[in-house]
């Protein structure tokens, strides 16, 4: 009788819980709290940055009350003042340019986002395809998984030029391969991995009980996949998608830099770092833009998460 669980271990009916998913007032207050935390965090970072700068300025570049030099310079070139960086967003990219820097960065973010997002979607498709192949037999899993892992040890810097060179060789009628597509593929390369690994775990997560149930009801392989394995994989895929989202932005930026693609954040980073000494704040602005793009992408996944998981038990979220 070791299997008999006492009643108190079972989930009771709790009317208060019944309608409180992530929607409603609790979700809103959670959102508000999170916003406060984020803004607070940004303010804290700005304050610490300014304080470190002020300290370096006061001591002349040493630790307070010592002659030990700080490990970095706090001058206005290395660490432009916070206000300079903030104000820089509103100024023209370079003198005489009618567009201000914010517009340039927003356009670059959009451009890079397109590459990252296309790469991300293709990565999900490829990742799930690989997961489904590995699901078929233990043999295939043993054969494929090592390659999936090895693929991630190839440095992106080495891979990117190869992908670009390959892309440039593609000649299909009625289709012209664009450079940004190569960049998207590079993003795909970083994206498919977490999806394949977590996707496989998720697809394998149904209990023998659930699988027996499908079998008893003469469910086809397809029905078992769509009505059991796929829904069961969703909670496993969400964290993978968050990882993939940030990775795809990194992949896209690195891809742009190695492919020499114009129009995205990668190009701005290269250009602005070349002119860093004359205009340091500008590079900081692009870095902030790149970070923001990653954050927005993850926020998009969080919304998807809310939609997909709105009807799941809290423990599974």
């Amino acid at each position: 009788m070791a299997t008999t669980a006492p009643t108190f271990l079972q989930k009771p009916v709790d009317p208060a819980r019944s309608n409180s998913g992530r929607s409603g007032p609790s979700a809103l207050s959670r959102f508000a709290r999170r916003t406060v935390f984020i803004i607070g965090g940004i303010v804290a970072v700005a304050l610490i940055y300014t304080a470190v700068k002020a300290m370096g300025h006061a001591t002349g570049g040493t630790w307070p009350f010592t002659s030990m030099p700080l490990p970095f310079s706090t001058d206005d070139v290395t660490m432009p003042p916070v206000m300079d960086i903030v104000l820089r967003f509103g100024q023209p990219q370079r003198t005489g340019d009618p567009k201000n820097l914010t517009m340039w960065i927003l356009e670059a973010m959009l451009f890079t986002f397109r590459e990252a997002f296309v790469g991300f979607i293709i990565g999900i498709i490829i990742g799930m395809a690989i997961a489904l192949i590995m699901l078929r037999t233990r043999w295939l899993e043993r054969g494929v998984m090592p390659w999936v892992i090895v693929s991630q040890t190839v440095p992106l810097i080495a891979l990117a030029p190869v992908v670009v060179a390959f892309g440039n060789q593609i000649k299909v009628p009625l289709f012209s391969w664009q450079q940004w597509m190569s960049v998207a593929l590079i993003a795909t390369y970083l994206t498919f991995f977490p999806v394949a690994v977590n996707g496989l775990r998720g697809l394998k997560s149904p209990t023998p009980l659930a699988l027996d149930f499908m079998r008893t009801n003469a469910a086809s392989g397809n029905a078992t996949l769509w009505k059991l394995r796929m829904p069961a994989a969703v909670p496993f895929l969400i964290p993978a998608l968050k990882l993939a989202a940030t990775a795809s932005v990194v992949g896209a930026i690195v891809g742009e830099i190695s492919a020499g693609v114009r129009g995205g954040l990668g190009r701005l980073l290269i250009d602005y770092s070349a002119q860093y000494l004359s205009d340091p704040s500008r590079l900081y602005c692009v870095v902030i833009g790149a970070a923001l793009l990653g954050v927005l992408f993850v926020a998009l996944i969080n919304v998807t998460d809310l939609l997909l998981m709105r009807n799941r038990p809290r423990e599974a979220r």
């Binding site: 009788m1 009643t7 079972q10 989930k11 709790d14 009980l209 027996d212 008893t216 009801n217």
Partner: protein, 274 residues
Amino acid sequence: MTTADTTTPAIEIQGVGMVFNGGRPNEVTALTDIDLTVQAGEFISLIGPSGCGKSTLMRIVGDLETPTSGAVRVNGKDPRQARLDHDYGMAFQQAGLFDWRTVSANIELPLELMKWNKARRQTRSSELLDLVHLADFGAMRPWELSGGMQQRVAIARALAASPGLLLMDEPFGALDEMTRERMQGELVRICAETGATVIFVTHSIPEAVYLSDRVVVMSARPGQITDVIPVALGERNEDTREDPTFFASITTVREALRGAPAPAVTGSNSVDIS
């Protein structure tokens, strides 16, 4: 779904044996020489010490395992064919409902797999919700229900396609005594209404006696049937539990279990006698 006439037994088990991992060091003989015939509409309980092969026998009938020897016919068919014909409904110790589906959608899943259209499925699921007294809970999620309610949903799901044959493996094993007795009452009523044939695995002697037309007593190492005890209690109701015949049958089953060679019997079956 049953097409069996009175001459075809619902289940015929002949000389069934089951050896897991045959020829390897971890070889287990789970069942030897099982013979059992179950008539359509009969309620049969399997009782015996842990590991005597009750679940395995049930799984063989339900085509979840293939016996290593002997033959099984279900409604005169191969178990695999019976499974493909949706002749079975199954319920286990855990409800095993799908979190991402509402209670109704869980009940409708077997019907979805049989390609019923939506309107028909909805009619059927609301019928079943009434049957298990959960009419107001169809739109809820399984995890919002108590264990007993989840188990009732699982039973409704097992009944969805009106299978002629219900296979239940300790379906009330995780419930407290009060809920359990109420569920037994409901199961008796449901079986009377649907005329289903039931194979019911349990650890509880009173439960087996209360529910069954015949109690099949098994022993371990090797798993085999040692006794088949008919229970003549007539129509079950709340007074049945106080009926002298009820206690007499409990004693008979308990003695049959004691008589079984495995010494573990008394320990594992004394729990529910109160």
